[in-house]
Amino acid sequence: MSKKEKSQATHIRRTARDWVFDIAIIVFFCLFTLICVFPFYYLLINTISDNDLVTSGYVNFYPLVKSAAGQAVPGIQISNYVALQNVQDLGSSVLVTVARTILGTALMVITSAWAGYLVTKQKMWKRSFWYRFLVITMYFNAGLVPWYMNMLMMGLTDNFLAYIIPGMVAPYNIILVKTYIESIPTSLEESAVIDGATTSRVWLKIILPLSVPILATIAIFGAVGNWNSFQDSLLLMNNRPDLYTLQHRLYIYLNSSSNLGAMMSQGGQVSEQAAQSLLNQRVIRYTVSMVSIIPILLVYPFMQRYFVKGIMLGAVKG
């Protein structure tokens, strides 16, 4: 696109109207980008500033700390992140979330790679039926309560496996892998088969190495999905708070503080102790939010091309 656009640009003589239009869209996109980025920046500076200054609302555009004389000066401090280790229940949710992100993503990728390869095999018994059997599940679900009752029946409530096993079969990812594998020349596979390789060997030695780009794509989508997971924890882990995911934990922190906030804004009496806990809650809420955003922001720049590739492959109908 870029080269064509540039050559196009040299051909056109710009009128005044063009200049106005160009500047307008650049301003628009700058503003929109700012709206997308500023909240993250705002959260960040509030977690690395002095807590008193945060509470008085002075930290708006850059981080502030107190100088030795008690003056607010630009600067950062990381004590809030250190203090997180004292926050109740946070450690277990981080562990659970990391564990499910690693295990869940790995199993999902392996299953998708395996199933995506097999459904390209025209010789499979009733292949197109089984393929549709998998694909239909994208468009149809039985509903929340029947799903919940099913998980209950399977013994997957209050159970860590509930985070991993149901996510193994991801029809959309199977379609992506299938589409990708179909674009690999079949001659490679055929020569291996003539040399006596079995199906699983062909998959392991030929298909897997060749489909690394698509597997990376679905792995990243899967990892982000697992990291952001909230609903399954909310629905299934009623009696096991130690298995709550990070987002669920954050949701609980957010709610407990927003209730206090509601009391204050409605002019109700809030005790000293409650105000103190509001302060702590607020810092916790910002810092925990930051902790759950940072991994995504860190991997994001490296992974962006995979994200784009993923959505483009998805647009090609499977």
Partner: protein
Amino acid sequence: MTGKARSPRNPQTGLERGFLWVFRGAALITGMALFFPPANPGRISGKINQAASLFTTGISRDTVTNNMGRILRSQWITDGDVTLLMISCLVVMLGVLACAAGGCMSLGNRKMRKTGLVLPLVGAPIMGAGLFLIHRAYESMLAHGTSADKLDKLELAIPAGFAVFVALTGLLFLTALGAYLATAKEKDPAAKMEMEEKYRLFLMMLPVILLAFIFCYLPIWGWRYAFFDYTPGSDIGPQNYVGFKWFRFLFTDPATSADLVRVLRNTLAMSGLGIATSWLPIAFAVLLAEVRSTKFQRFVQTFTTIPNFISWVLVYAIALSIFSTDGFINSFLTNVLHQTGANTNYLQSADHTWLKMLLWGTWKGVGWSAIIYIAGIAGIDQQLYEAARVDGANRFRCIWHITIPGLIPTYMVMLLMSIAGILSNGMEQYLVFSNAVNKDVIEVLDLYVYNIGIGKSQQISLSTVVGVSKSLVGITLLFLANGISRTVRGESII
């Protein structure tokens, strides 16, 4: 086993084929029953975890005993009893494994079938032995309970799953025997065990199919709750069958139907707003393509897609940090613009909730949704633009007559999909943003199903009825949209 399909088709008689299919079906059901807690033959005491399947009973001592603390300490049930039970379950599992392997091998050629069918002939008796051992464990617990005079505390009973497994064992043995006898002996001494490639591929796929069945299709079995008066913890059976009572209740009970109308209005309003603004990503993409600097394009694209990758909980955290009483807006008004009394909590309000939800959705999604159109623009033939410019078209005419028509087919697919999903806007966004003030205008159908079924009250049956109706309407809409797409574009969308 090579990939070459050179295995000869060994003919099967009708009798043999019949026995084989019944046997395979029984083996499949038995294999799945291993992981199905209601069919656990090992739950011989009410104190054994209700959620334990035969598989878990066999491998996890913790699961078996986690409700029996005092009973074990007081030796009303001994550790030996539990060990016996677990070993028996493992024996049953071993038998089932043999039967399942036999079922798989029965898809091979005659030599493989004949060999494979020996496995269930051994496996079924092993299952029987395991079941016998379970019964022994039951008797042993009964004896210990009687001597401790605590029989009522142990809730000993032979579970329904036991009968199921006895029946399955018998069925597996008889059909395997029948199939074995009906299979002619392989006369060619040089014959090898082989399986046609189509069946081999199918067996490799089978685990994936089973997982999809268990987690995506089996929940449909839960639709039966719609026809029963079910409360959590109770059983369902003829005694609480109520037919279509809950469907009628939905429309005749004034409070419920008023709720339903309110919830449907929220759902349709918010989906409708989403559909009405579904052209925004196109506008975004078209405008971005008009920017001449590729670096700037990439910069904007990178940063506007970030919000798509954070969860709704985090979006809510951001909303709190910006719009709550002590958020950015209020501190900005107070400390930068020096306004007094700026402490409005913008989130604790029911005003313009639909619009706010739309704006959050747009903030999160527009950059991401635009990617597909940006790629679409890149795919438009540049000769069209050159020809148009030669004819004197300016850039606005080029956009209107070339770029946008080029994106319309993609847009139509997206539009039809969102119309098909008009009732499903998901619950996560609305759950995190709902509070006491705005709950009446934010509750969408998905959230309502959650609230009445699992969240606030436990009306499983009513909630199932709403969910079932929603699923049925949803699938109808999907087929309608697909039909429209086929007629208009000659191409289906699913």
